[in-house]
């Protein structure tokens, strides 16, 4: 692979480090790009216990089977996208997390009518955190994001303004660092979503978090 500094994250061109303006007022919304998150799309027979067992044997945690659920094991999280579809994410920004996850899964699930596709490069991951994160996302997302309806660990493929997104509530209000969502969006929509979030969060005081 090339020198890491030559790789450009989806929002690298915005120079986000220069946008972290702090005018003294506490920001109720903080935005951050989580560059180079690993994201692997997994398809497979969700109703087949041997398939679920094979995943668990390899990953050492179980695939979620309830709608919108997620499960965590080690450094990766499995997000339920459909009865036969999951996203396996590793948002730590480790280089080449996607290809690594993909090749391990491919080996473990060989023989099943399954598909493992690394799509890490095709998505941007934007973290939105702070007390008004739910209210900000709610402006563009038709799903009910109230704490009673959307809980820690839950995920959903939905719409944010005019973009398709996958949102994942990584930490709720009771978590130590406070409320935080990861928003996965197609790379070419990342700039639009970032500007949209900045604009939507403006009334709450928004900061780019680095």
């Amino acid at each position: 692979m090339i020198e890491r500094y030559l790789r450009q994250s989806p929002l690298a061109h915005l120079g986000l480090s220069g946008r972290g303006q702090d005018d003294g007022a506490p920001a109720q919304v903080r935005l951050a790009e989580r560059p180079f998150s690993g994201l692997v799309n997994l398809r497979g027979p969700g109703a087949d216990q041997t398939f679920l067992d094979a995943f668990e044997a390899a990953a050492e945690y179980a695939l979620p089977t309830a709608a919108g659920a997620s499960s965590v094991g080690g450094n990766t999280t499995a997000l339920w996208l459909g009865p036969r579809e999951w996203a396996i994410v590793d948002a730590r920004g480790e280089p080449d997390a996607g290809p690594r996850i993909a090749s391990r899964l491919r080996a473990a699930l060989a023989g099943f009518p399954a598909a493992v596709t690394d799509i890490s490069e095709s998505r941007a991951c934007i973290q939105i955190s702070g007390a008004k994160a739910r209210a900000t996302l709610q402006k563009g997302c038709p799903l009910d994001l109230h704490p009673r309806a959307f809980r820690q660990g839950q995920c959903a493929q939905t719409r944010l303004a005019k973009a398709s997104v996958l949102i994942h509530l990584t930490a709720d209000e009771s978590a130590q660092g406070g409320l935080a969502f990861d928003v996965y969006v197609a790379r070419s929509f990342a700039e639009y979503v970032w500007f949209w979030l900045e604009d939507a969060a403006c009334e709450y005081g928004a900061n780019a978090k680095l």
Binding site: I2, S120, Q138, S188
Partner: protein
């Protein structure tokens, strides 16, 4: 100017907070808590507008959303907003407003001539007068619009910003009067997620209009404050004041507009001006109250003639006397209540004229006890005064109330307070598709069966006593929580208690009898905003418009921005009486959203400027920008169109890019092409069914071009698919079709062939793609590539390999859309810019030239390669394109059956051909029509059209592709093409491949 009509004390205003404002160029003072209307009245200003059609002087009629007269233009310049109800504008310091529909001034208005001409301006006069000649309508309309206009829309761009949000709740309560507050309390105490929406700036609604009432033993003002504190203390209750629920749509979707900063002098820049709430409520409680009705009598529209309850509101809530001497005209108890409160405020009550023979009820008893003069069994039959009511004429009615006897006395006054009963505010209920029914005792429509998960409570449900309002509201709040299926288990507590007087009994007289023959008395207005009189309604009936819906449209009753809030029930009553029918048989017209007008800005929200639509950009976009590329929109993508050098025209730039590619090497950003990853044991079978050609024998590491048809046999997409492994393929689609093609494939996979072991994943954005094309492409790639044998035998045309380019993991496909030797280099998206820069640096010695979509189009057209969407338009088959070679005769595929339908094999179908103009310099317009012979005049039979047309620098002349009827049989023949200047040019039909038909360049 002093507020000479302000009461010395009382009211919900802050006398320590004085606000200056300007109306029609004059400066006034008001207080915080005022509306523009109350502040004007405090300064003795009643005349605030001219009526729509007759330009009659009009004053403030109401104190709320129903206001038909006091419509003003608020603000100046770009922030100016027309047609706002002065009764709903919160006063702020520095407010500027002006009256509408008057010229040159409110006091002297030339349009008032219409009033004198009114005999010639009956209902429907537009239809009768301006029908002929039809071509003059535009001119008539211009003049009519100016004469009958309302306010003016600003011409400047709206400088404000607006917010939109989705929202969800268990219980939405609309209206924060007594019923709404009780409902919110009951629901909120249970722990439910409650939104309480109130259009006013305060909570309490009608409670502020009255005087001396108590709830649970405490004055209503204290109860409101206590209740507000309790609601605000509930975590899951959201109180939205200044928030209008303007529309009730399917599935309990209610749209609200919150006025966030309109009432502020200094508006924080970070806050939106208004916010649209797109709310999905599990259950809705409608507590929207009721609207008092005017009485319909001659000259009932002079300034100073007001609704009785509005007079009460101005006295009690705003501490404003609407006048010094009042006459009250009523058919129910409400007029007496208004008289009592006005008398208490020091207003001289000249008389209470009551249509009822024998007024009964607690208010009339109190009025009598207070020594107020009550004139029973009588009517106001006329009024006097130009810009303000000065006298009223009263007359006794006969025993059954159908006729006025000879005119009686004339009373001086400066206010006439009228009450014709009450109409529940059914707008949202009706919008929810609930059916209304007429209640003859209450003299109004009330909610019938619900169509959605909602319930009405309080006055909007026909409960006019305070105790009933509270009880219904409280019960509705509890029931809504239960119906929402919430099991929270907290107790709602006890129902608040209060007195229960309502406005009954009443005497229903829809049109007050006159002492003069019809047409001789003054105009009796039913719809104040649209200037519709009782006689207009009867004229419509005489002219044959019998249905209430037709009467509405012919007279425009209820069609103003106030949607007939004060007039509709009176209109229905008058129509029923004239037809000798019962009101339920006449029916009710449709209530349409919005309840009151909503500004366009909130619908736009933040979807403006840069956020209007996503601009999709490739990882290499910043390089293109720096290189000065001109971009073209392809779907939502921004693709470089061409890369002009300083001083170059588009034509020069494209020529240079095309020549450089043919002669040395060009480079293009092909990232936007759709890419679909296909995995599974049945992938080859799937491709067999989806594409017209066969895929079973494609070897690993090889690519094949495919055409995709829909069920009708028409071409919908094309592209190259590569076999990466035994059960792993990578399909490319056209840029604009990536999403529709994936949807098409998924539909077949999920609905028709669920048995196939195939999985599709979009990987369009996983890769950045640079395509290098031209005779030097291999030499350049050889410098940068590792781990790939580029020799023609090892990597022939239509093959694919993995390796590294410039140190980056890469997948190289040798495929060509230009006809040149060409390599498509795919790398991880994050490395796209690094790859591009490496290729540009290493390619400098070859004069590597970035080219855009226009040059790509020229290059492919020289080779006769089609573009789906350009050579095809949804009605073109592979046979039409001359691509029979790619259509399998052996296997089945989507669209195959359609290709054998009789129409599909006709010889005169439009077929793809090349076209060469006789004058090689002339470039045809794409879309130009083609004929065999030019006739002296149209029509002449069209035989086809030009699909693509370019100047080809490699051929040194213009080239074009066209779809022509039976085109392949016309080779060498002449056709005539239309030119933009109206002329025609002769062209020769040729084959569609203009350059290197043997393909030696790309196979090199």
């Amino acid at each position: 100017m002093t507020q000479s009509f302000r009461l010395p004390e009382g009211g919900l205003i802050d006398r320590s907070h004085r606000l200056g404002f300007r109306f029609d160029g004059r400066d006034y003072m008001g207080y915080a808590g005022d509306t523009l209307a109350s502040a004007l009245l405090a300064n003795g200003v009643h005349l605030v507008g001219r009526s729509y059609k007759y330009h009659r002087p009009r004053g403030i009629l109401s104190a709320g959303a129903e206001e038909p007269n006091a419509l003003v233009q608020l603000g100046e310049g770009a922030r100016s907003e027309p047609n706002l109800r002065a009764t709903q504008i919160d006063l702020f310091d520095g407010l500027r407003a002006r009256s509408q529909n008057r010229w040159p001034s409110l006091n002297f208005d030339i349009g008032a001539l219409n009033n004198g001409l009114s005999r010639f301006l009956p209902a429907g006069f537009y239809y009768k007068t301006f029908m002929w000649p039809a071509s003059f309508w535009m001119k008539y309309e211009y003049i009519i619009r100016h004469a009958a206009g309302l306010g003016e829309a600003p011409r400047e761009r709206d400088p404000d910003h607006y917010d939109k949000t989705f929202a969800h709740c268990d219980v939405l309560v609309v209206g924060a009067g007594p019923a709404g507050l009780a409902a919110a309390l009951a629901a909120g105490r249970s722990g439910a997620r409650v939104i309480l929406a109130e259009q006013d700036s305060i909570l309490g609604g009608s409670l502020w209009s009255g005087s001396g009432e108590t709830i649970g033993g405490e004055p209503v003002q204290e109860w409101i404050a206590t209740t507000r504190r309790e609601l605000e203390g509930m975590e899951e209750v959201t109180i939205l004041t200044r928030t209008l629920a303007y529309g009730y749509f399917d599935h309990n979707f209610v749209a609200l507009v919150e006025r966030v900063t309109d009432h502020l002098s200094d508006r924080p820049a970070a806050l939106p001006r208004q916010r649209l709430w797109k709310l999905r409520a599990k259950q809705v409680v409608l507590a929207t109250g009721a609207i008092e009705r005017p009485l319909v009598f001659a000259d009932n529209d002079r300034p100073g003639i007001m609704l009785a309850d509005a007079c009460r509101t101005y006295v009690n809530r705003f501490a404003v006397r609407p006048g010094k001497k009042a006459v009250v005209f009523t058919n129910n108890e409400s007029g007496h209540l208004a008289a009592l409160d006005m008398a208490a405020a020091g207003i001289n009550i000249a008389a209470i004229v009551d249509l009822r023979e024998d007024p009964m009820g607690s208010a009339s008893e109190r009025a009598e006890a207070a020594g107020l003069r009550v004139v029973p069994g009588s009517a106001v039959v006329g009024t006097g005064g130009q810009r303000r009511v000065k006298q009223v004429h009263i007359a006794r009615l006969n025993a059954d109330g159908t006729q006025a006897l000879a005119a009686g006395e004339t009373l001086d006054c400066d206010v006439l307070a009228m009450s014709g009963g009450w109409s529940p505010t059914l707008h949202l209920f009706s919008q929810s598709r609930g059916k209304v029914r007429f209640d003859a005792d209450l003299g109004c429509f009330v909610p019938g069966a619900s169509a959605q998960a909602e319930r009405s409570a309080g006055a909007c449900n026909g409960a006019f006593g305070l105790s009933d309002c509270l009880a219904q509201g409280f019960a509705a709040g509890k029931q809504a929580v239960k119906d929402a299926g919430l099991k929270i288990g907290r107790q709602a507590g006890a129902t608040p208690r209060a007195g229960n007087d309502d406005f009954l009994p009443a005497r229903w007289t829809w049109e007050v009898p006159s002492d003069k023959p019809s047409g001789r008395a003054g105009k009796a207005f039913v719809d104040f905003q649209n200037d519709v009189t009782a006689n207009d309604l009867k004229l419509a009936l005489r002219e044959g418009y019998q249905s209430i819906e037709h009467v509405k449209r012919y007279t425009a009753t209820g069609m103003g921005t106030d949607q007939g809030k004060t007039g509709n029930v009176n209109a229905i009553g008058i129509v029923a009486a004239a037809q000798g029918r019962e009101i339920p048989d006449v029916g009710v017209t449709t209530f349409r959203p919005p309840y009151t007008p909503v500004t366009f800005g909130v619908f736009a929200g933040r979807d403006v400027d840069g956020l209007l639509d996503p601009n999709r950009k490739t990882p290499i976009h910043s390089w293109h920008e720096q290189a000065g590329a001109v971009f073209e929109d392809v779907g939502q993508w921004k693709r470089p169109w061409y890369f002009p050098k300083a001083g170059e025209s588009m034509s020069q730039a494209v020529k240079r890019e095309v020549k450089a590619t043919r002669e040395s090497i060009g480079i293009m950003d092909a990232t936007t092409l759709g890419k679909i990853d296909i995995q599974g044991k049945d992938s080859a079978e799937f491709l067999n069914r989806i594409y017209t050609n066969a895929w079973s024998k494609l070897a690993v590491g090889r690519c094949r071009y495919g055409l995709m048809l829909n069920e009708a046999g028409m071409v919908i997409d094309d592209g190259v698919t590569a076999r990466l492994d035994d059960f792993h393929y990578l399909m490319t689609t056209t840029t604009g079709n990536a999403a529709p093609v994936l949807a098409h494939l998924e539909e077949y996979l999920q609905t028709e062939w669920p048995d196939l072991d195939v999985h599709l994943t979009s990987v369009t954005e996983q890769f950045a793609t640079a395509t290098i094309a031209g005779p030097n492409a291999r030499a350049l790639l050889a410098e940068l590539a590792e781990g790939i044998d580029l020799a023609p035998q090892a990597l022939p045309h239509m093959s694919i390999r993995d390796g590294r380019v410039a140190g980056i993991d890469a997948r190289i496909a040798r495929i060509s859309f230009t006809g040149e030797m060409s390599y498509e280099i795919n790398v991880p998206a994050s490395c796209g810019l690094a790859l591009w820069q490496a290729l540009m640096t290493a390619g400098a010695k070859y004069g590597i030239t970035p080219y855009g979509t226009e040059a790509m189009h020229v290059l492919r057209a020289e080779k006769g390669f089609i573009i789906v969407g350009q050579e095809t338009d949804g009605s073109v088959t592979p046979i039409d394109l001359g691509m029979d070679w790619i259509v399998s005769k052996k296997k089945d595929f989507v669209g195959k059956r359609s290709l054998t339908r009789p129409d599909m094999i006709k010889s005169d179908r439009k077929q793809l051909v090349g076209l060469l103009t006789d004058d090689p310099k002339e470039i045809l317009a794409e879309g130009a029509q083609l004929v065999e012979r030019v006739l002296p005049a149209p029509p002449m039979p069209m035989i086809g059209h030009v699909t693509s047309s370019y100047e080809s620098p490699n051929l040194g002349r213009s080239i074009a592709l066209a779809l022509i009827k039976g085109g392949r049989a016309r080779m060498g023949q002449k056709v005539q093409a239309s030119l933009a200047n109206g002329g025609t040019i002769a062209c020769t039909v040729t084959g569609p491949v203009f350059l290197d038909p043997e393909g030696t360049r790309l196979n090199d």
